[in-house]
């Protein structure tokens, strides 16, 4: 009997679950809460997570990139990592000031010839094509820089200014050019006949540069110096300094 009554009461109590808040009020409260939630949205969790992930990614990237660059330093033309090495060198060159750029390019040209030597002597000849191309490009760059330096040298000389620094730079290049021509001789000997003219051409370019510098700086006896054509002189100096390279 008691249980029956309890059951009856329970049924009535269950009906009380029909009581609900006013729908408009509930919707307004929800809207207010969500507005507050948006305003006070903690950047800490999601934002900090993003920051942490970004930091971790940056760290991994730096680690990988620096690791790859270090590893790439020993690569030779034709290697997978070689473009990374060259890319890194180019970036370094961009950030090198004007004063040191000439030296940097000189070092790079030397490096290219060394690489070519290694490729030709240690690897098969097939992989030398790309190395020759790289050397040609570097030699061209150094040739351009030498011409700029010579032009500057003549300008300073004409203006009666101090030319010591430029002279020093140019004269320091002479033994290097000489040495690299010797390296190219070895490379030429190691290569097959069809590829030798390419090396000879590079060798001639370096020899030509060496001779111009020596003539400019009077490093060789006049009677031994090779008479340079007017075309070989920097343009501006052709008119102003005809006596330097008769």
């Amino acid at each position: 009997m008691e249980n029956e009554n309890f059951e009856q009461i329970e049924q009535k109590l269950k009906h009380l679950a029909a009581i609900k808040p006013n729908q408009n009020w509930a919707a307004n409260l929800k809207s207010a809460l969500l507005t507050k939630a948006t305003e006070t949205k903690k950047p800490s969790l999601s934002y900090s997570l993003v920051l942490k992930l970004a930091a971790a990614t940056a760290f991994i990237l730096v680690f990988l990139v620096s690791g790859t660059i270090i590893y790439a330093q020993n690569s030779l033309p034709g290697d997978i990592l070689y473009p990374i090495k060259r890319g890194y060198e180019n970036i370094r060159l961009v950030f090198t000031n004007e004063e040191n750029r000439f030296n940097e390019q000189q070092k790079l040209a030397e490096k290219r010839i060394d690489e070519l030597k290694k490729v030709v002597l240690e690897r098969n000849e097939k992989s030398s094509d790309f190395a020759i191309k790289e050397v040609r490009s570097s030699v061209q760059e150094i040739k351009d820089e030498v011409n700029v330096a010579r032009k500057e040298y003549y300008s300073l000389k004409e203006a009666g200014k101090d030319t010591t620094t430029v002279e020093k730079s140019l004269s320091s290049l002479v033994p290097v050019l000489e040495e690299k021509q010797n390296d190219l001789n070895q490379i030429e000997d190691a290569l097959s006949e069809p590829k030798q003219p390419q090396i000879r051409q590079l060798k001639d370019t370096l020899g030509d540069l060496q001779q111009k510098i020596e003539n400019d700086l009077n490093l060789t006896p006049k009677d031994e110096s090779v008479i340079q054509g007017v075309d070989d002189q920097p343009e501006e100096t052709q008119k102003t300094q005809p006596s330097i390279n008769p």
């Binding site: 009461i9 679950a17 609900k20 006013n22 929800k30 969790l45 999601s46």
Partner: protein
């Protein structure tokens, strides 16, 4: 269950909570939708007035929003939100003590969304009787008989052991039976 609510599975609720804790406002909105009626009713049965129940329910959800980041999923979320609800009601009575007349508390306002006369009358009868129960008895009736929580769940919410809750429920039903005039 005619008017029963659908309780979310703990897995989906936990996902919503985690998402809301990470700043997903929509997830908080869903949690709100799942609890607003239960919390409101709980408060309403305890304070007996619509306006006060609305104010207190608003406070409860504001607190829930502010403190959600501290919720650590150690107990159930129901226990957590009902603990906030209970404390809010207790604070209300503590601060408003002396300002509220007993008659006002015991006089229920019209029941929202319960236009059916029979339910309305029934509510008023039962509601009045509910007010005469002790706080603990009230809670066990609200949570077990109205909100359909199990004794185990109520034990988690109220921090009372299940046996004691059964005794409380039996005692409360006996009181209700007498007050409602059943079995006479």
């Amino acid at each position: 269950m005619i008017f029963g609510h659908r309780k979310p599975s703990s897995a989906s609720l936990n996902t919503l909570i985690a998402s809301a804790q990470n700043g997903n406002t929509e997830a908080f909105g869903e949690i709100y939708d799942q609890y607003i009626e239960r919390v409101y009713r709980f408060v309403y049965f305890k304070v007996g007035r619509k306006e006060i129940a609305e104010d207190l329910t608003q406070d409860i959800f504001m607190k829930a929003l502010e403190n959600l980041g501290k919720y650590r999923n150690e107990g159930s979320f129901d226990a957590w939100i009902f603990a906030i609800s209970r404390n809010t009601v207790i604070d209300y009575y503590r601060t408003k003590k002396g300002e509220i007349s007993l008659d006002l508390i015991r006089e229920p306002h019209a029941v929202d969304n319960t236009q059916h006369l029979e339910i309305k009358e029934e509510f008023e009868r039962v509601f009045k009787v509910l007010q005469d129960l002790s706080e603990a008895e009230q809670e066990v009736i609200i949570l077990h008989s109205i909100e359909q929580y199990s004794f185990s769940e109520i034990a988690g919410i109220t921090d009372r052991n299940e046996e004691y809750l059964r005794v409380l429920k039996h005692r409360a039903l006996k009181k209700l039976k007498e007050e409602l005039g059943y079995g006479k």
